[in-house]
Structure formats: structure tokens, C-alpha cells
């Protein structure tokens, strides 16, 4: 039936070509509030894409029928609609408006304006991001809008970022927002190797930042309910750039080059300090001690130096945009070649995009958005693995050499030679991704439009790992060769088909109704092939088929399909009172048969107080809006494709083993059935106030929200008599409450000098309400992820650090002291039972501030982002800050600060103290305050004056700029030397702010030129 329906659509395209009304030429002049002609005013025939612009004298001319309504719009003035009727000359005088109020806001399946919007949406427009040279699209969101916490997980190129919209809304499900590019909801299946840590790759690293026109972050239920079962974590709508009709073609070329440095490295012992320290330990008979400094080689390799570098990167973006009478377009291409600060970490991206809009006739508009991106990521291992360059360079003992006397690599320590790895090993991830959307909009009546669209998100990922003989030597000492290779290919293929009918009308000049209803179908097929082999005769034989022993041949496919029916209706009375309701019904193959469908809804109301007559006298108040919304949305990321089905399988859960037996296939129950398993549901109350003063030079956006999430996916323990330890159920409940404040001010506006500030701050409080069936503890029921140092606890936050409290080194005894559960000082804590809540990985508040200055042709802007009150856990300190491990691992220079005599306030205990070994255990010793203020971006630009180009036929504009990214970080915590406070080594919502040795954010100095032709 579906296929036939597409045929029907084609049929619709072709049969209808009747011209049906009388057109005539309309002309006129548009003037501003002072009566001066306005050039560049958009003149559009409403509900069509037909339009033009006024010329330098403010004149326009357009063909329109007497039924048409002409819409005149210009930034800074109130849009005017005029019905043509029998007039042939229509002159318009604008009244000034608070400019931003009439800017278009992209909402789910439609648009609105800032003035009339009663959904809570944070919009980031081109103006805010165009001067930020970014490597990935997500970076552009940093610090820009309230309610969005953005954590860059590491300084490794391509690493995933953590985006949280309004706190953590899921514990075991996915908690990233849904990302939709030009109507295509992106797939975010994990399609790469895990290289240590669990951060994966960035799902939208395939999007060229230069293509982005705007972000809309959908926050409240009024905005997200229409995304139904996928809306609970928030939705980020990304719109890419587009030309306007009847405009000259504008060609932009943007070129930048940059240098990248690694910041924040831990100060570790060099080869001399290391030997000396071990000798000092030897003097008192402490473990790891040596009898003479000369017992250790005097030479070594500077591993940290071998692992880091100054990266050199280049980026080119060229785009053209414009439009003729019927067609507008944007064509963009980009090339980035990036080197990270960690040796061996490179990323090359080539992208192309075509956006087209064609008005075929009065009733048919055709649209196309298509992007193709090829990304080649040369990856490095990270975090807790001896193959990770940064981790290994900290931990490897400094006397270990990288090369022998002839200069050949050697690998003779249990920590791998990371210089050799980066020189000899291949670890790459190549992806080719096509994201596209074709649409046809048919005007059925003056009020009703039909839009059909067909989108794809297809990515092909090719991960390849080749470990050389040196790193994976022969197991039997040389008879059979070593080395191994693995190739993991993942094809993620998603198709989306959307059909909407929209209705917009105004009657009696006071009632405006807008409605949209639609159907959506989405199908995702995820196909993977994973092969590996070992024992290669030579490192020159690259591919898997050359390995003598195949170790893995796996192929797998999963399919999911989602179907939704949705609608929204919006009524506004005199532009003062606005109500809106939306609804969606989603069916998803992933959900259990009994709960396969879910209904989501929202209601919102708004009052534009400033439109009331009694407000007219208060001229300084340009906008006062109150709005409130309540509604629901869901989170469909409850694991895999078939989490609800009772399954018999061959693969043993959690182990790399099978139930096969004696060479024959064997299967056994691996998952219990739960036909009731379904989405997690969030119900959100949102109350907002928007205030614009002094012609909107001062703009305040204040929100309170309470988001209650129920049906949290939990592995609920059941009696093992069933054959299963747990069953996944929708059982838990949590709540996020908070206040979000956005403040935009134009502090100074003069002819030569402007200064504007954009500030946002969000206070979010997350509380676990209930975790039925979870294990109990003194603090309450809790769940924790395997290996995590934090717990979600009933009545507390979702991310409480749960550790033994470290006191310090006793200045009299020289022993390290801890607190037991009751708060008594002890030198022999129980690292299991003495744990208490000592911190929270979630911040009290976070936000960003941007200041932009222009003086004549100079511009300067800087963006800072900040986080306050969260804790981070530095797991790597258990190795590099554990003195008695010095025989095995190198140590941070801090260990030299040890206790020597009574009265010393030392960092570490007396050499040989029994308590030295306690530093191997996780305690609050490794916990730090993660508060920071980061100078994320500082850009200084100079635009050549227009006079230069007056007689130049080719160049229209030239801007040169210098940018510093991540110039400095002010850290709130003490003892943070060498550690970046903005870290997390896991995207799991239950493991936040933990790091082994996360690569710190890179510092980048960048020079660029943008030329417009």
C-alpha cells in the first residue's frame, strides 16, 4: 500500500497543470516609518514561494492574482500583509518593530515567529555562529542557549560530545537528544570500534558546520510532543543554508588554517627524577625502591613528547547561494584536514551539499536537500588501555626506550610502545554518509497545503584495525607469526517518508488558526560485517584475508520501523491570546506487543501582554509574553532492536562465547519476554516569561520547568528460578526541575561602535524518585553501571559519587587517613562498606556568555562557557598518583612531596607507609571540583571597507579573522593541574564526569579569510 501511495504522489505531480486564476502586475513603493524608501524588502505572495525584493529606490513589481495576499517583511519592521483585490499599485509604510520578534523559528513540522511562539525553543541563528570556525557542528551549540548542557568528551578528533537538554531524563536508555537535519531524524547507532572509553564517535561529525543556518533546540512538551516517542530528551532541529529567490548569486569562500596544542598535561617524573625517587624509596626499604640510582638505565624516552604534537589543520569552505525567479539554491562544499594534538589522531572530511527550492507553478513547490560527506578518521586509543597514547605515555616508566641503538622500534614493556603503535598501526574509521530529503508542497486551497517528503540517512562505515607484529608478537616465540587485523563494516540505512497537511487562515482579521496533521514512517536497517584474523607473515600484508588464523567472522542485521501520526492546532486571537495543542501517536517495532503504540500530547497557552491596549502607554516595553505548557513525550532508546522479545540465541550474554557445543549449533534462552516493555515517558510543565525592553535592546527569557520521567527502563531483579537474573521493565521515576534564564542585550549601539551581550544560565536539579526492585543500601535504593564510581540513588541525584572519604596525610604520623562510614578517622578503610555520597557529577548550574563588539570595520567577539558545582573523578590518579606502584608505573611529580618529619604537610605519606597502597583504591582523593569557566572562542575580525570594492566587479566583501579556541580555562577546583575539568569518558548517563586519562581539549590558534564574490 505504501508503494502505491508514492505512485499516487507522482501521479499528483504530473496530471495537474491547469492555470486557474487571473494574474496581473502589482507594483509599489515600500518606505520605513520615517517615509524613506527601503531597499531589499522581501515581498512574498503568502503561502507560496513566489516573491521579490524592493530595489534601491524601494520599488517592487510582482505578478499576482487578486486572490493573493502580499506579505512585506524586513528586519526591524513589523511584517505587513495586504490583500491584492483589484489594486495594481500597493504602497506600504512600515512601522518599526523589535526586529527579532518577527524572525522565523523552525518548529517541528512547521514554523512560527519569535513573537507568537509559545513553545520553549532555543534558537541559534546564523549571526551567532557564522563567525565561529568549528570543526564539528555540535561545537556551534556550546554555550549558546539555556537548558542545553554541552560536554566535549575529550580533545580527540571526532570524539562524541555529550548533549543534555534539561538534565538527565534516562538512566539505562539513551539520553542524547534527537537530531533532525532538514527534516531527516539522524540515526545514531554505534558503528565504530570501541577504542577504550565508551564515548564512540560523534553522530553528526558528518555535517559540515559551514552549511548550518540555524539550530532550534526543542525543550518543553509543547515543542517535543509532536516528536512523540523520540522527544523526551529534547530535539535539535538543524536547518541548513538556503538562497532566496530573485537575489544575485553570492559566492562565499572561507579558508582557515590553524595550529593545535594539547593543554593540561600531568607533570610526571622524568628519567632522572624517577630513578632518584626510587632510590629514596630504597633507602627506607619501601616497595619499588632501588639500591642505587645507577640500577636503572640513565636514558629513556620522553614519552609524553612522543605522544603529543602541534597539529596543523586546514579548512576550506566554498558555497554559492542565490535564486532566480522560480528557483533558489545553496551549493556548498568543504574540505577539512585536521591534525589533533595527540600523535596519530587525524581527521579528513570532504563534504558537498545541494539545497534547492523550485516553484514549479502556482500550486507546486519542489525542494531538495542533499549532502554527501566522506570522513576519514585516523583514530587513537583512549582512556584505560595500554594502547592509548596519552595514557601509556603517563604510565610507562621513563627509562623504557622506544627504539634500540639502530633506531628500530622496540616493544619490551607491558605498556605498549605508543610511538611504534602510531607509526606502524592502522586504526581508521571511514564513513560515507548521504543525508537527503526531497519534498513536494502542493497548494490544495488557499489555506491548505499538502507536503510530502522522502528522506534518507545512509551511512557506510568502514573501520579497520591492523596491529603489527611488534605489538602483537608471535605467541609461541617465533614459529608462527603474529600481528592481527580486523575489519568492521556497518551500513546504516534509514528511510523516512513524511506527509503533512497544513492549514492556515485568518478570519475577521482577529482569529488566526494554524493546523498541521501528518503521517510519518521511518525504517532503519543496520547491517554489520565484522571479520578478523591473526598470524600475518609480514606487516606489509594489510588485509584480513592474509592472516593465517581467522578469529572472527560475523555478520548481522537488524531492522526497526517507526510509524507516527501527528497533529497540531494553534489559535490566536488578535495576536494577544494564543493556545496550541499537539498530539502524536507512535508505533515502534522495538516496543513490546502490548505497548507497541504510544500517545503523546501537549497543551500550551500564551498571553502577549504587550499587545494589550493598557500596555500602549508603557512604550519602553516592547514585548511582554507569558506562556505555560504541559504535555508528554517519550524516549524510545530502550536498547537494541528487540528488547521486548523472548529470545533463544547462540551468543552468551556479556561474554565472547557461544552456546554451541562440540562443533554443533546450540542455543539457549538469552532474553526473557516482556510484552509490556515500552518507551520512557516524560511529562513536562513549563512556565515562561519573555520581556523585551527599549525596542528590544534588552531581552529576557525566563523559564521554570518540571520534567517528570516515568516508566524508566530498569533491569529489575527477578528470581533466578525463572532462568534470568533481571528483566527489563519500565519501572523507575525521576524528575528534573530547573530555571533557565536567557538575556540578550544591545549595550551600546552607535554608528561606529556596537556592543551586544548574550548570556544564558540554567539551574537544573535532578532527583531520582523511585527505583523499584533496585538493590537497597543505607542511602536508599540505587543502581550503578558496572565499574562506575557513582550511583543513582532514590531521593538523590542520578550521579552521586559514592566513595570512601580521604582526609589527607597526618602531619604527625606521616600516614594517609580516611574516614570510615561513621566519620571516624582510619588508616585502613574498607573500600566497599565505608563508602558514602561525596559528590555529584551533575552541575548546579551551567551556561554561556557571548560578547560581541564592532568598531567601524573591526569586530571582536568572545564566547565563554561555564559549569559550576559538579565533581569529576580522575581515575588515572590511582595509577599515576599511587607511590607504591612506582616500580610498575611512572608517577606524577606530586609523589615527591612526601612526608619526611613530624609537622610536614605533605601530599603523600611517608615512604614505605602501609597506607601508600591505599592510593590504588578509589576514594575522594581522586575526586575534584569540576567547576570551570572556559574561554571557548575569541575571534577578532576585520572587514575591508565597502569603498574598496566600489569599482570591483569581482569581490564584494572580504573579511580576515583570527580566532583562538579554548584560550584558557579557569578551574574552580584545587589540585587540578594537568587535568581538564570538562571531561567524561563515557556517554552512559550513569557514568558522567569520570576520566581515566581523557585527552584534554585542544587549544587552537586559527587564521582565516572569508571572501564574498
Amino acid at each position: 500500500m505504501k508503494i502505491q501511495y508514492h505512485k499516487l504522489l507522482l501521479f499528483l505531480f504530473f496530471i495537474y497543470n491547469i492555470t486557474f486564476s487571473q494574474e496581473m502586475n502589482i507594483s509599489g513603493t515600500v518606505t520605513d516609518d520615517k517615509g524613506l524608501p527601503l531597499p531589499g524588502v522581501n515581498v512574498l505572495i503568502k503561502n507560496s514561494n513566489k516573491g521579490t525584493q524592493t530595489n534601491f529606490d524601494g520599488n517592487y513589481s510582482i505578478a499576482a492574482s487578486n486572490e493573493d495576499v502580499l506579505s512585506f517583511s524586513f528586519i526591524g519592521f513589523i511584517t505587513k500583509d495586504v490583500k491584492v483585490g483589484d489594486k495594481t499599485i500597493i504602497n506600504v509604510q512600515f512601522t518599526a518593530s523589535a526586529a527579532e520578534l518577527d524572525e522565523v523559528v523552525i518548529i517541528g513540522f512547521g514554523t512560527s515567529t519569535e513573537r507568537k511562539l509559545i513553545q520553549n525553543i532555543g534558537t541559534v541563528r546564523t549571526a551567532a555562529i557564522e563567525n565561529i570556525p568549528a570543526v564539528t557542528a555540535q561545537e556551534l551549540l556550546q554555550g549558546q542557549t539555556s537548558g542545553v548542557q554541552f560536554t566535549q568528551s575529550s580533545g580527540v578528533l571526532g570524539a562524541a560530545n555529550i548533549i543534555r537538554v534539561r538534565g538527565v531524563a534516562s538512566l539505562n536508555g539513551g539520553s542524547q537528544p534527537l537530531i533532525v537535519i532538514d527534516g531527516v531524524p539522524l540515526s545514531d547507532d554505534v558503528n565504530t570500534f570501541n577504542v577504550g572509553g565508551n564515548t564512540g564517535l560523534n553522530p553528526i561529525s558528518d555535517l559540515s558546520p559551514g552549511d548550518i543556518a540555524s539550530f532550534s533546540v526543542l525543550k518543553d512538551a509543547a515543542a517535543t510532543a509532536i516528536w512523540g516517542s523520540r522527544g523526551a530528551n529534547g530535539v535539535v532541529l538543524i536547518k541548513t543554508k538556503m538562497g532566496s529567490i530573485n537575489t544575485d548569486t553570492k559566492i562565499n569562500a572561507d579558508v582557515w588554517t590553524s595550529f593545535t596544542n594539547v593543554t593540561d598535561l600531568v607533570d610526571i617524573l622524568d628519567v632522572n627524577e624517577y630513578a632518584k625517587y626510587r632510590f629514596e624509596r630504597g633507602l627506607v626499604g619501601a616497595s619499588g625502591g632501588i639500591n642505587a640510582v645507577s640500577d636503572l638505565p640513565a636514558d629513556g624516552s620522553d614519552w609524553l613528547d612522543l605522544a603529543t604534537r602541534t597539529g596543523f589543520s586546514q579548512n576550506y569552505n566554498v558555497s554559492a547561494q542565490g535564486g532566480g525567479k522560480k528557483t533558489s539554491f545553496f551549493i556548498g562544499t568543504g574540505y577539512s584536514s585536521l591534525e589533533g594534538g595527540i600523535v596519530g589522531n587525524n581527521l579528513r572530511r570532504i563534504s558537498g551539499r545541494v539545497n534547492l527550492n523550485h516553484t514549479a507553478n502556482e500550486w507546486l513547490d519542489l525542494g531538495l536537500n542533499l549532502s554527501v560527506t566522506n570522513t576519514l578518521n585516523d583514530r587513537v586509543n583512549v582512556e584505560n588501555t595500554t594502547f592509548a597514547p596519552l595514557t601509556s605515555s603517563y604510565l610507562i616508566r621513563p627509562f623504557i626506550q622506544s627504539r634500540d641503538e639502530e633506531g628500530n622500534f622496540i616493544n619490551n614493556d607491558f605498556i605498549q610502545n605508543i610511538e611504534a603503535i602510531e607509526a606502524l598501526q592502522e586504526n581508521s574509521a571511514e564513513s560515507t554518509r548521504i543525508i537527503g530529503n526531497m519534498s513536494a508542497t502542493i497548494k490544495l486551497t488557499e489555506e491548505i497545503d499538502y507536503k510530502g517528503s522522502f528522506g534518507i540517512d545512509r551511512s557506510q562505515n568502514n573501520n579497520f584495525l591492523r596491529i603489527p607484529e611488534l605489538i602483537d608478537p608471535s605467541a609461541d616465540g617465533g614459529i608462527t607469526p603474529g600481528g592481527n587485523a580486523q575489519n568492521f563494516m556497518a551500513n546504516d540505512n534509514r528511510i523516512i517518508s513524511d506527509h503533512t497537511l497544513s492549514y492556515n487562515t485568518t478570519f475577521n482579521d482577529i482569529h488566526t488558526i494554524g493546523a498541521v496533521a501528518g503521517l510519518s514512517y521511518q525504517e532503519t536497517t543496520f547491517n554489520t560485517i565484522n571479520v578478523a584474523s591473526e598470524d600475518f607473515l609480514s606487516d606489509d600484508l594489510r588485509n584480513v584475508s592474509n592472516g593465517a588464523v581467522p578469529t572472527l567472522t560475523a555478520q548481522s542485521r537488524e531492522k526497526r520501523s517507526l510509524y507516527g501520526a501527528f497533529g497540531r492546532i494553534n489559535y490566536d486571537y488578535k495576536g494577544k491570546y494564543i493556545i496550541e495543542g499537539s498530539f502524536r501517536r507512535d508505533g515502534f517495532s522495538r516496543f513490546g506487543v502490548n505497548k507497541r503504540f504510544g500517545n503523546f500530547w501537549s497543551l500550551a497557552g500564551g498571553w502577549l501582554v504587550s499587545e494589550e491596549s493598557f500596555m500602549e502607554e508603557l512604550e519602553n516595553i516592547s514585548l511582554l509574553k507569558l506562556r505555560v505548557s504541559y504535555g508528554t513525550s517519550g524516549n524510545d532508546r530502550i536498547g537494541g532492536s528487540f528488547p521486548s522479545q523472548g529470545l533463544f540465541g547462540s551468543a552468551v550474554p556479556l561474554l565472547t562465547a557461544t552456546y554451541n557445543y562440540n562443533g554443533s549449533g546450540g542455543i539457549a534462552p538469552i532474553q526473557p519476554v516482556n510484552p509490556d516493555l515500552t518507551y520512557e515517558e516524560s511529562a513536562t510543565l513549563d512556565v515562561g516569561l519573555e520581556l523585551g525592553l527599549f525596542n528590544n535592546r534588552f531581552n529576557l527569557n525566563l523559564n521554570y520547568f518540571k520534567k517528570n520521567t516515568t516508566d524508566l527502563l530498569l533491569p529489575v531483579p527477578i528470581t533466578e528460578i525463572t532462568g534470568f537474573a533481571t528483566i527489563n521493565k519500565n519501572a523507575g521515576e525521576l524528575e528534573n526541575r530547573g530555571v533557565e534564564i536567557g538575556l540578550n542585550t544591545k549595550n551600546v549601539v552607535t554608528d561606529n561602535f556596537t556592543w551586544s551581550t548574550n548570556f544564558n544560565i540554567s539551574f537544573v536539579d535532578t532527583e531520582v524518585i523511585s527505583l523499584p526492585g533496585a538493590n537497597d543500601s543505607d542511602e536508599g535504593k540505587f543502581i550503578e553501571a558496572a565499574g562506575a564510581r557513582q550511583r543513582a540513588i532514590e531521593g538523590e541525584s542520578t550521579n552521586n559519587f559514592y566513595l570512601v572519604r580521604y582526609v589527607g596525610v597526618n602531619s604527625q604520623t606521616g600516614d594517609a587517613e580516611y574516614l570510615d562510614k561513621d566519620g571516624n578517622t582510619t588508616t585502613s578503610p574498607n573500600f566497599d562498606t565505608d563508602r558514602v555520597i561525596v559528590g555529584d557529577a551533575l552541575p548546579d548550574f551551567y551556561g554561556g556568555i557571548t560578547n560581541t563588539f564592532t568598531y567601524k570595520n573591526f569586530d571582536l567577539s568572545f564566547l565563554m562557557s561555564f559549569t559550576y558545582g559538579n565533581d569529576i573523578f580522575l581515575d588515572g590518579l590511582r595509577f599515576v598518583g599511587a607511590p607504591d606502584r612506582v616500580g610498575t608505573f611512572n608517577q606524577s611529580s606530586d609523589v615527591l612531596n612526601y612526608w619526611q618529619q613530624p609537622g610536614d604537610n605533605a601530599k603523600y605519606p611517608r615512604l614505605g607507609s602501609d597506607t601508600e597502597s591505599l592510593y590504588r583504591q578509589a576514594s575522594s582523593f581522586q575526586l575534584r571540583d569540576g567547576t570551570f569557566l572556559r574561554m571557548r572562542n575569541l575571534t577578532f575580525g576585520y572587514t575591508l571597507p565597502n569603498s574598496v570594492f566600489k569599482n570591483n566587479k569581482i569581490f564584494k566583501k572580504l573579511r580576515i579573522y583570527a580566532t583562538g579556541n579554548n584560550l584558557f580555562v579557569i578551574k574552580g577546583g584545587s589540585n587540578m593541574d594537568g587535568f581538564d575539568p570538562e571531561v567524561t569518558d563515557n556517554i552512559n548517563p550513569l557514568i558522567q564526569g569520570e576520566t581515566f586519562f581523557t585527552a584534554p581539549q585542544a587549544r587552537q590558534f586559527l587564521l582565516g579569510t572569508r571572501i564574498t564574490f
Binding site: 503521517l519 562465547a657 549449533g665 539457549a668
Partner: protein, 480 residues
């Protein structure tokens, strides 16, 4: 004209839209392609055979019938010594086992996982309507499932219940479930309280008697067979001191001639006719190290060198008097089945060599030698003469070890011989308990904690299981 066209479009649109609505239900019915659903697993003969195979696959998994089986027996009894740092094992060795112990809970977890799978087969196979799937083939599969269910209940009864001898089997054992946890089955139906040891034994006897009827004689000792069911039942009757039944069944297995009392100890690490039931454990299937216990029980540096023969066991082996043909001059069980090497502290000790440190060897569960032991002990204690005399049976075993014949045999002789023969094969603990003996020798550490009937001679019901199942309220074993 316009209006008419619009109307037609609208109708068409609505029809088209309904088409999507109509088709969507089917589109949402997607089946996995890498596993079978509960229904499809019993719709083809091959799939059913796969489920049956899976029983054995599960059994060799950590840690149903793998390393744990002999480790906890050896750790608690006088058979082995532990010097490692793993708390869960050290606790068992030191009689400090906690209800949260991860090793002892494996029998419960893995046991019920296998029982659930067996219950699926027992419930579903009789009704399977599949062309060419004969009643005989069904019988064979149900017989295997019953055997595997019986062996897992038997294993659990050894771990979680006091022996029959303490209270004539009226003490608590484990909950019994004989239905699968399938679609629609409420969890509450599985929140069962503990049955008595006699009840569990009754189920085992029924299952094994069914298995003896349903299964054919077979020389494939890697799967359940009639002989394996008889042998296991013989063991159960021995534990219940039903001497005639035990001796008769053991004798039937011996005289069936399907198994061969091996001439030497080369049968370890192989699938040989010495075995009645042995779990194949090949690299092709993906090796299970059995919670790495084989690695723990192998000398350093290949293994961890944590778990080795106790002084008591070694001196028992060393005290054997070699016979004239014995060129080694000592008990041959101190040659092939062991390896001398360093423990975790660098001290030379005697380690088992019956399974290598990788765990990549077959796992002996029942072998024919045990039948001779059972026949001997049952005949001796029941004052019977089924098959052969106890003296002959024991001397046969001693002779293979290169020891001189005994002239008379006592229960102590049989138990000592079993200790030496089955070292690190998981028998010693129950051999002592079912004879109402303590687990440690006088002078050993924890001697008083190990006396017969003492709380910690058996293991705790896993702590999490008490939380998850209200019916177990107040049913924890005393002392935990």
C-alpha cells in the same frame, strides 16, 4: 472545475494516507535475524536440536559444570589449599563465605538457567508438530533435557543443602520449578520457596528414571545417554544410602560394556571411553575458562598458582606402597594427573593437571571408575555382593595407580582411595559430608567450623535471590 479536482485529490490523499495506516501494523512486526523467538525455536527440528545442544553449551559455561564444581569442593574440604588473593575464593577456604559470594551463587544462577531451558524442551517438544520428527527422536531429546535438569538439581542440592544424613532428607534444599518461564508466565509463579532435600531427590529420581527409559544406549559420552542417567542415579542412591539400588545401577553400567576402565591416566584432557559423561570443551565453540578456575589451579606463570593439592592429599598419595611393576616408585596419580610447579608465592606445590590452565579441555563429570567405587561402597555397606566384591573393585583401581593390592577393604580405605583418584574432580566434599564426617582434618585451619552439620559446610542462598523472591523469606541457610 477546480473544486472538483481538489475534491478528487483530497479523496485520493485520504485513501493514500489510510493506506499507510493500514500497512503500518505489519511493518511494525519485525523479527530478529540473529536469534530465534520463543515460538520459532520450537518450530523446526534443527532448532529444537540446537536448543538441546544449548543445554550442554550452557553447562560448560561459567560456571555450571566447569571449574567452580571442583574448586569449591576442594577449597572447603581437606583436598586443596588456596593461597590466592581473590576474596570470594579465600572466603570459602577460610570458612568466611558471605551470602554475596560470587562463586557459590553460580550454581544457583546457571543451574536455573539450564533448568529453564530444559523445561522449555520438556514442555514444548511433545507438542511439536513437525514433519519427520519422530516420537523416538522426541523421546531422545526429552530424555536429554530430563537428564540435564536432574544433574543441575543434583549439583544445587550438593551446594545449598545439608546432606541426606543430617536429617534424613527433611531439611531444606532448593525451590523446584518444572515449567518454563515463557511468554505470559507471571514472575510470581516462580517465586517459590525451598523444597526439602527429599522432594528434590524425588524429582531427580523421576527425571533420571524417565531418562533411562527415553534415552538409548550410546557410546557418545559427550551427551546424555542411558548409561549416563543410570550412573548419575547410582550416585544419588549412594548419597541416599540406598545400597541395593546404587550397587545394581552401578553394576548395570559396568556390565553394559559401553565404557572401558582405562589402563592408565592418559584419558584426562581427552574424550575417552573412561568417561560416561564428559563435556566437550573445544576452542571451536569458544572456550569457557570456567571463571578462570583452571587458571587458578595451574602453577605460575602459566596459571595463577592459587589452588593446589593440600598436604593431606599429597601425603595420602605419597604413602601409597608401589607394587613390583611400578617403575616410578610412587602412586602413578602423582605423575600424569598432576604437575609440579610454583604457587603464587613461588613455593613449589603439586597442582592438578587434569584440565590445562586455559580451560580448553573436556570436563569430566562422570567416569566409569566412579561406578566401581559406588559398587564397592554399596556392596560393603549394604553387605551385598552385586557384580563383584568391594576388595576386587578397589584393588582394580589401586592396581592402575601402581599400588599393591589391599587384603581387606574398609570404608576408610574406599574414601581414601576416592580422595586420591578424584582429586580436584569435585567429589571430596560430598564424600565426607554424606558419611557424616567433617570437612577438615584435625589440626587443619577451621577444623571446628568444618565439622559435620556445621553451618558453613554448606553454602548460602545467594543474597540477591532472597531480595528478589519473597517466598524465600526466612529460608536462608543458618549462619548466613
Amino acid at each position: 472545475m477546480m473544486k472538483t479536482i481538489y475534491k478528487i485529490y483530497k479523496v485520493l490523499l485520504i485513501v493514500g494516507a489510510m493506506g499507510i495506516l493500514y500497512s503500518c501494523d505489519d511493518e511494525l512486526e519485525i523479527n530478529p535475524e540473529d536469534s530465534l523467538t520463543e515460538d520459532s525455536a520450537f518450530e523446526s527440528e534443527f532448532a529444537i536440536r540446537g536448543v538441546t545442544n544449548g543445554l550442554y553449551g550452557q553447562a560448560r559455561e561459567v560456571d555450571a559444570l566447569n571449574g567452580n564444581r571442583y574448586a569449591i569442593s576442594g577449597l572447603q574440604s581437606d583436598e586443596m589449599t588456596f593461597v590466592g588473593s581473590f576474596t570470594s575464593l579465600a572466603d570459602i577456604f577460610e570458612y568466611e563465605t558471605q551470602a554475596t559470594n560470587t562463586n557459590t551463587q553460580e550454581f544457583w544462577d546457571e543451574g536455573y538457567e539450564i533448568i529453564n531451558n530444559a523445561n522449555f524442551l520438556i514442555a514444548k517438544v511433545p507438542d511439536a508438530d513437525i514433519v519427520d520428527f519422530t516420537e523416538e527422536e522426541k523421546d531422545d531429546i526429552i530424555g536429554q533435557a530430563k537428564f540435564m535438569r536432574a544433574i543441575m538439581y543434583f549439583e544445587m542440592s550438593r551446594v545449598y543443602a545439608q546432606p541426606f544424613q543430617l536429617q534424613n532428607g527433611n531439611n531444606l534444599c532448593v525451590p523446584i520449578t518444572i515449567i518454563p518461564f515463557e511468554s505470559g508466565a507471571p514472575v510470581e509463579d516462580f517465586e517459590l520457596s525451598r523444597s526439602t532435600l527429599n522432594q528434590v531427590h524425588t524429582l531427580i529420581i523421576e527425571d533420571l528414571e524417565d531418562a533411562i527409559t527415553l534415552l538409548q544406549e550410546s557410546t557418545d559420552n559427550t551427551i546424555a545417554s542411558k548409561g549416563a542417567a543410570q550412573a548419575l542415579l547410582a550416585r544419588l542412591y549412594l548419597y541416599r544410602e540406598e545400597w541395593t539400588a546404587a550397587a545394581t545401577l552401578a553394576n548395570e553400567v559396568i556390565i553394559s560394556d559401553l565404557y572401558e576402565f582405562s589402563d592408565d591416566y592418559s584419558f584426562y584432557k581427552t574424550v575417552s571411553d573412561e568417561s560416561i559423561f564428559i563435556l566437550a570443551n573445544t576452542a571451536t565453540d569458544g572456550t569457557f575458562g570456567g571463571t578462570s578456575l583452571h587458571n587458578f589451579a595451574s602453577p605460575s606463570p602459566a596459571g595463577r598458582g592459587d589452588l593446589f593439592y593440600s598436604d593431606f592429599l599429597v601425603s595420602a598419595l605419597e604413602s601409597g606402597i608401589p607394587d613390583v611393576t611400578n617403575t616410578e616408585g610412587k602412586d602413578l596419580r602423582l605423575i600424569d594427573p598432576v604437575i609440579i610447579g610454583n604457587d603464587a608465592n613461588g613455593v613449589e606445590e603439586v597442582f592438578q593437571n587434569k584440565i590445562s590452565s586455559t580451560g580448553n579441555d573436556p570436563l569430566p563429570i562422570i567416569r566409569i571408575t566412579e561406578m566401581y567405587f559406588i559398587r564397592a561402597e554399596a556392596n560393603l555397606r549394604g553387605n551385598l555382593t552385586i557384580g563383584d566384591t568391594p576388595l576386587n573393585d578397589i584393588n582394580r583401581i589401586r592396581s592402575r595407580a601402581g599400588l599393591i593390592d589391599l587384603t581387606a577393604v574398609t570404608l576408610d580405605d574406599i574414601l581414601e582411595e576416592r580422595l586420591k583418584e578424584f582429586a580436584s574432580e569435585g567429589h571430596r566434599r560430598m564424600d565426607l559430608l554424606r558419611n557424616s564426617r567433617g570437612l577438615r582434618q584435625a589440626g587443619d585451619p577451621e577444623f571446628s567450623s568444618a565439622v559435620f552439620g556445621a553451618n558453613k559446610t554448606i553454602f548460602p542462598i545467594p543474597a540477591g535471590q532472597l531480595d528478589a523472591n519473597p517466598a524465600l523469606n526466612g529460608q536462608q541457610n543458618p549462619g548466613y
